[in-house]
């Protein structure tokens, strides 16, 4: 199951060259670039772990790519995303966020339907245990 989230999620995965260009775009706009990783790509999980500090005073994307390579080396079996935080007044929020790494075996989710009082229906996104876990 291919997890999609953030920008460009319906495009094929970005190549390193494309990532470099996106990062350069962030830096040119003066956004702080962050590398984050997680084992739990649930859409409601907003707390990904940070790889190092936000990078806000770089001139060139090569520095970010160096960190990304290092992060992939250590956490290549997890989801990694890059986000750009705009600290300027009025924005003060993440302006761009996209996946740059996925594990060899992706996480599986399913939508669980639950009937509750008065025939109302609740839906929950539940992570499915990998089917091949036993093998």
């Amino acid at each position: 199951m291919k997890i999609t989230q953030g920008c460009f999620s319906y495009l094929p995965d970005l190549t390193d060259e494309q990532i470099t260009r996106q990062v350069q775009y962030c830096l040119a706009n003066g956004w702080a670039v962050n590398i984050e990783f997680t084992e739990d790509p649930h859409p409601r999980n907003i707390y990904w772990e940070m790889w190092g500090l936000p990078m806000f005073d770089l001139q060139d994307a090569a520095g970010v790519m160096m960190e990304l390579a290092e992060c992939r080396r250590v956490y290549g079996d997890r989801y990694i995303r890059i986000s750009g935080f705009d600290s300027s007044h009025g924005w003060e929020s993440v302006r761009i966020s996209f996946l740059v790494n996925r594990p060899p075996r992706e996480a599986e989710f399913e939508l669980v339907r639950q009937e509750v009082g008065g025939r109302a229906i609740r839906y929950t996104t539940v992570r499915r245990q990998a089917a091949h876990a036993s093998t």
Binding site: R21, Q59, D60, A62, G63, M66
Partner: protein, 310 residues
């Protein structure tokens, strides 16, 4: 989807090149001219910089002509006594490299040991990497680089920093140019104990000391920049000043001259203000009298410990 700028040129190679236009487009002619005009003396340095610039220009044209071109190693080391213009030339070098597209952004990050080496275990690597990331796409200028290596302390964190630097210098040659600077002898022993550095640096440039005549020209340039000039007698006095100052300790070429010029301005202003009843004209304001020069400590027994700063 990606517009690679050179994608079209590799298919049908250009065959004719207007060298003058190429050089001007890259801004080298301007930068070299500026170098020639603003830096007094330094003949070997200038000719070396011109050689490097020419090589880079030709390399770039060769690339477009479809000839074999290996990306040149651009790391450099500048050695020379204090105040011989190493930092200034490094800034110019960054401009040339940027003009020719061998560095993408052209910023110069100037650091010393303190910026690279940490205080405790585990502090050095992030610190060095932080600086390297900032310098990516530009030039990293490491002043007094020999301090990175402390031969008397095996466990010094400098070595860790050196290893990270070497790795990046080797693997990311197209992202970053490193310029090491320092005083001649100590750099020699630094390279001797870190052979990795020596072999990764393509250009070793030595900055000679300035001759007395050159120092005088520098002083006059500095005065001119600040809107002053020597009177004839003051000029002679300053010649004597230079000759004396050179023999005294802590002499650091152009830097000493700059400090001397600043102190001369101070004394000139003091002299003018001491006589409040006088009417001043413009000539008074911009002329330096011999008295302003001769009042220097250099003439009265010379530099004591306090002139370590001068």
């Amino acid at each position: 989807m990606l517009d690679v700028p050179h994608a079209t040129t590799t298919e049908h190679n250009e065959t004719h090149f207007d060298l003058r236009k190429e050089a001007e487009a890259a801004g080298i002619t301007d930068t070299l001219q500026q170098l020639e005009q603003e830096l007094v003396g330094l003949k070997p340095v200038k000719s070396r910089v011109r050689q490097i610039a020419s090589l880079l220009l030709i390399e770039r044209i060769r690339q477009r002509a479809g000839l074999v071109s290996a990306p040149p190693t651009l790391h450099m080391s500048f050695t020379g006594n204090p105040g011989t213009g190493k930092t200034t030339v490094a800034l110019r070098m960054a401009k040339i490299l940027h003009g020719l597209g061998f560095v993408r952004r052209g910023q110069v990050i100037s650091v010393t040991r303190d910026d690279l080496v940490g205080q405790y275990i585990g502090h050095t690597a992030p610190k060095t990497k932080e600086i390297l990331k900032k310098a990516m796409g530009g030039v990293l200028f490491i002043d007094e680089a020999y301090y990175l290596h402390r031969p008397d302390n095996e466990r010094d964190y400098g070595q860790e920093s050196i290893e990270i630097l070497l790795q990046v210098m080797e693997n990311q040659r197209e992202d970053l140019v490193v310029i090491l600077a320092g005083y001649g002898e100590r750099m020699t022993s630094f390279f001797a104990s870190n052979p990795g550095f020596r072999s990764r640096i393509a250009h070793h440039i030595e900055f000679p000391d300035y001759a007395e005549a050159e120092l005088l020209v520098i002083a006059e340039l500095m005065l001119k920049e600040r809107g002053y000039r020597f009177s004839t007698a003051a000029r002679e006095a300053f010649e004597k000043y230079i000759a004396l100052r050179r023999t005294q300790p802590f002499f650091s070429n152009a830097r000493s001259i700059r400090n001397a010029v600043d102190r001369i301005r101070l004394r000139q202003a003091d002299r003018l203000v001491s006589d409040l009843d006088r009417m001043l004209d413009v000539a008074d304001l911009e002329t330096v009298d011999p008295a302003d020069v001769l009042a220097s400590r250099v003439f009265s027994g010379g530099a004591d410990t306090r002139s370590a700063k001068s």
